[in-house]
């Protein structure tokens, strides 16, 4: 193996930029690290080159452990996105620089330099300076410079990011060719999925510092294991249904689940199909292709050889669409298809079938349950209920500030008498609860955090307690604040306001309602004398459609009241609700302990558990 990363980690404070990444790259391989910006992919490259020091793990290059070595002794060639050509040196001097500091004799240096100029297609431009070269030419110089002293591995950090499409394509080809000819082990970092599919021998997908999946481009495209990989690499439709009798059910149509797929009966099942796997016909196909339904073409893009179509289909029962993301208020099913450009299709009543698909192994939703150890076990009971009901996995977190009390706490967590939480992971942290919950959330990305109101530490003025305040201020998670646990889950109250923030309440609340299988009421509080405005009515109408698309039955309630808080509390008191959903602002717009007043008052005064949804998608 040319490059071995062994549980490589890098964190800044509580933030894990790179989290336990292990990877083996064979000699001569062109490996692409693909991820969104901020995913930690560039940091991995810098760690390998020694430009950043890891906080854990080892780096082995060609069998040599280089973890503790300075960049000078690692023998890596590094190409930066901004080229970093030395401006006061000619192209020739730039290329010779590495050999010069390594005291390679002049004639040898010049031979090598000419050879490299030939290789990257810059013959005769050795006397130029950076400001006399185009971006593409500068990057070719950077590539030649990084190859000049014959490094063990070549590291490229978004090398073509700053170039325009045509040049990018040409350089990609040049790189692939040179890499193949020299047989040099290469890691290329990019956020461009097309680039990754194009050049890679293998692709590694990075998200939030985790290496999610590694495979050949073809395999990763056709059979991704994670939802992230499925939606990040290429386009396609992803639907969530339910596993029943060995088949994945999506309303009236079902697909067989492969035997090796460990999906338990009754749990969620995901299917991915790519645009080119969608078959369109104007008559009912008589072959035994699975048919999703009949749809209408709502948009087309002509792309030379092919035509991309967007179709709307009536929604499928007990099915939710994940990708492409439905616009707010969309009730139907949106499917993309690719057909040859010359195929003409009528706009309506088109049969949509599948010639291929891939059942995804979707991880269970993850819950983070915070338990203070003593006091009522409301969080644990709710957690247990959710685990059973939605087949979630949970982590029970205990936090203490003393090391001795930690043992007692962990013992208490283990022997939860009244609640059977044997399937949950137990975890102990030291410090202040709110901070530690925020850390745990940031590190492992839970779908929801469940916290109980701290009855021991609440005061007259602050009725929620420090922990609830802290968690709401420090995380951008959906936080379920529990008081006493409801006996049954029958109905959910979603309080929604107009605007982008109000949309997320509906989405996140709806997802929970769907999993719990309960109906919900959309509440709009009309304050003042006038009834609901036109924009509010429109918003409610779209919200209702959005919930229907998730297969959550719902009704709309408009309630006049003095102010939103009074309206929400009155509705929560009078209706038969077991869960209340309210919105808040994300941490970006809320400094610690400056939550929106409405949210805080509803939290403090409602009797039900309250789910606080951040304004941004989680």
């Amino acid at each position: 193996m040319a490059i071995v990363l062994d549980r490589l980690s890098k964190s800044f404070g509580a933030q894990n930029i790179v989290d336990q990444v292990s990877l083996e790259i064979a000699r001569g391989e062109l490996f692409v690290l693909l991820g969104a910006s901020g995913s930690g992919k560039s940091t991995i490259l810098r760690l390998i080159a020694g430009l950043t020091q890891p906080t854990g793990g080892r780096i082995i290059l060609n069998g040599r452990d280089v973890t503790a070595l300075p960049p000078q002794q690692r023998g890596t060639g590094f190409v930066f996105q901004n080229y970093s050509i030395f401006r006061h040196m000619s192209v020739a001097d730039n290329i010779e620089f590495g050999m010069m500091v390594q005291k390679v004799p002049k004639p040898e240096r010049e031979d090598k330099r000419d050879e490299l100029l030939d290789l990257v297609g810059l013959t005769g431009l050795g006397d130029r300076y950076a400001n006399q070269l185009s971006g593409g030419q500068q990057q070719r110089v950077a590539l030649a410079r990084a190859l000049a002293y014959e490094p063990n591995v070549l590291l490229l950090d978004e090398p073509f990011g700053a170039l325009d499409v045509k040049i990018r394509e040409r350089l990609r080809r040049t790189l692939k060719e040179i890499q193949g000819r020299l047989g040099i082990t290469t890691i290329l970092v990019t956020h461009d999925q097309e680039e990754a599919l194009n050049v890679a021998d293998r692709i590694g997908i990075i998200e939030h510092g985790h290496l999610l999946e590694v495979d050949r481009p073809e395999a990763l495209y056709a059979r991704p294991r994670s939802l992230f990989a499925a939606t990040f690499l290429g386009t396609g439709t992803v639907l969530v249904g339910r596993a029943l009798g060995g088949r994945a059910q999506f309303g009236d149509f079902s697909l067989p689940i492969p035997e090796e797929m460990p999906i338990t009966e009754g749990s969620r099942a995901l299917v991915l199909f790519r645009p080119e796997q969608v078959v369109l016909s104007s008559e009912k196909p008589d072959s035994d292709l699975p048919v999703i339904g009949r749809g209408t073409i709502i948009g087309q893009n002509f792309a030379g050889a092919a035509r991309r179509l967007q179709l709307r289909l009536p929604r499928l029962k007990s099915t939710r669409q994940i990708a492409p993301p439905l616009p707010f208020g969309e009730e139907g099913l949106l499917v993309e298809a690719v057909v040859p450009a010359e195929v003409g299709l009528d706009g309506k009543d088109i049969w949509v079938g599948l010639r291929g698909w891939h059942i995804l192994n979707h991880p269970k939703p993850r819950l983070l349950l915070y338990d203070a150890g003593a006091g009522p076990a409301a969080t644990l009971n709710i957690g247990k209920h959710l685990m059973d009901r939605v087949n979630a996995s949970a982590t029970v977190l205990g936090v203490t500030d003393e090391s001795e009390a930690g043992l007692d706490l962990i013992a208490a967590l283990r022997s939860q008498k009244e609640v059977d939480l044997s399937r949950a992971v137990k975890c102990l942290r030291y410090g202040r609860p709110a901070e530690q919950i925020a850390c745990e959330y940031a590190e492992a990305l839970y779908e929801m955090v469940v916290v109980a109101v701290d009855y021991q530490h609440k005061t007259e003025r602050d009725r929620l307690g420090e922990t609830v305040h802290g968690v709401l201020a420090m995380t951008n998670a959906a936080v379920l604040v529990v008081k006493k646990e409801p006996e049954k889950y029958r109905r959910m109250l979603i309080c929604t306001a107009t605007g982008e923030a109000g949309k997320n309440n509906v989405r996140v609340g709806g997802r929970l309602a769907r999993r719990l299988g309960i109906p919900s009421t959309l509440l709009h509080v009309a304050s003042g004398s006038d009834s609901a405005t036109r924009s509010a009515l429109n918003h409610l109408h779209l919200a209702s459609a959005t919930l229907r698309a998730m297969d959550v039955s719902n009704n709309i309630h408009i309630r006049p009241a003095k102010n939103p808080v009074a309206g929400i509390l009155a509705e929560a008191r009078e209706g038969e609700y077991d869960l209340v959903v309210v919105g808040s602002h994300g941490p970006g717009s809320r400094p610690p302990f400056a939550l929106e007043e409405t949210t805080l008052r509803v939290l403090a005064e409602a009797a039900q558990p309250v789910l606080v949804v951040p304004a941004e998608e989680v």
Binding site: F78, F97, P151
Partner: protein, 279 residues
């Protein structure tokens, strides 16, 4: 860029209404800048060329001019190293107290030079904190050329820093990192990659330092003790001759200083102008 563009008069230069504001500017500048500058030369040559030469040939005048040049060169040389080092540290490292330090190193521009002189005397002088200690070893830095150099270093320090640091700030961090990955040591990186990129800043900083040192008066007058043939710089000589009523002597040296400053300024403009064209 503009080199390649043929010389077409721009709209602004052709604009007729430019005459009024430009005329007003010249009118304001006339008594403020232009006439005083002319006065130096008119008075220097008032008694004829031979008087001018005689005035310059006095041992005091020759010493003052040579001493001033010597101090200016030394100051520029020491500050080139010191200022670059300070700029490098301030630009490349992030540390607590970075902001206050950044203010402190620029403070000499804001402090009146007489105050600088006083503070140096209070520290290094015969009754100063360090002065008493050094006195035990028979060292008296004040009222010596070394004292003058010290004062000049203090006063001119921000100029070098101010010319070099912005250039360093603009150099991407990846510049150095690229050199490291190619096997260059810290020193090699500095020598072959950073320093050449700093050439322009160093040149400007050196000229600025040199010019300021040549004309420094406030701090020098206190720190040097104004000892003729020992620590008397050209500006001090001019002042002393004026006080004594020898206006011709003062004017002769003043004219030489003015010419020197013009030459330096010419180079400075040439260089910065050239840079602007290349950018």
């Amino acid at each position: 860029m503009s080199q390649d563009v043929p010389d077409v008069p721009t709209a602004q230069t052709r604009h007729p209404s430019a005459i009024a504001p430009v005329g007003l500017l010249v009118l304001v500048l006339l008594p403020l800048l232009l006439m005083p500058l002319a006065a130096i030369f008119i008075f220097a040559f008032e008694g004829g060329f031979s008087t001018f030469i005689t005035a310059l040939k006095s041992p005091d005048a020759i010493f003052a001019l040579r001493f001033s040049l010597f101090i200016a060169f030394s100051t520029a040389a020491v500050n080139a190293v010191l200022g670059t080092f300070a700029a490098y540290v301030l630009s490349k490292y992030r540390f607590p107290g970075e902001k206050p330090l950044g203010i402190v190193v620029n403070l000499p521009v804001a402090i009146p030079t007489v105050v600088v002189g006083t503070s140096l005397l209070l520290l290094w002088g015969p009754i100063g904190l360090l002065g008493i200690f050094l006195g035990k070893f028979g060292l008296e830095p004040m009222f010596t050329p070394f004292g003058v150099l010290l004062a000049h270093l203090f006063v001119t320090f921000p100029y070098m820093l101010g010319s070099v640091k912005p250039v360093l700030d603009e150099l991407e961090a990846t510049y150095e990192e690229a050199a490291y990955t190619m096997g260059a040591s810290r020193w090699q990186t500095f020598r072959y990659v950073i320093l050449p990129a700093l050439r322009g800043g160093l040149f400007t900083g050196t000229l600025l330092t040199f010019a300021h040192s040549l004309g420094e008066f406030g701090a020098t007058v206190l720190v040097s003790g104004n000892l003729r043939l020992r620590t008397q710089t050209a500006p001090l000589y001019i002042f002393a001759q004026f006080e004594a009523g020898n206006v011709a002597n003062a004017n002769a040296v003043a004219a030489v200083l003015a010419v020197l400053s013009f030459v330096i300024f010419f180079f400075l403009l040439q260089y910065t102008g050239g840079q602007g064209r290349r950018a």
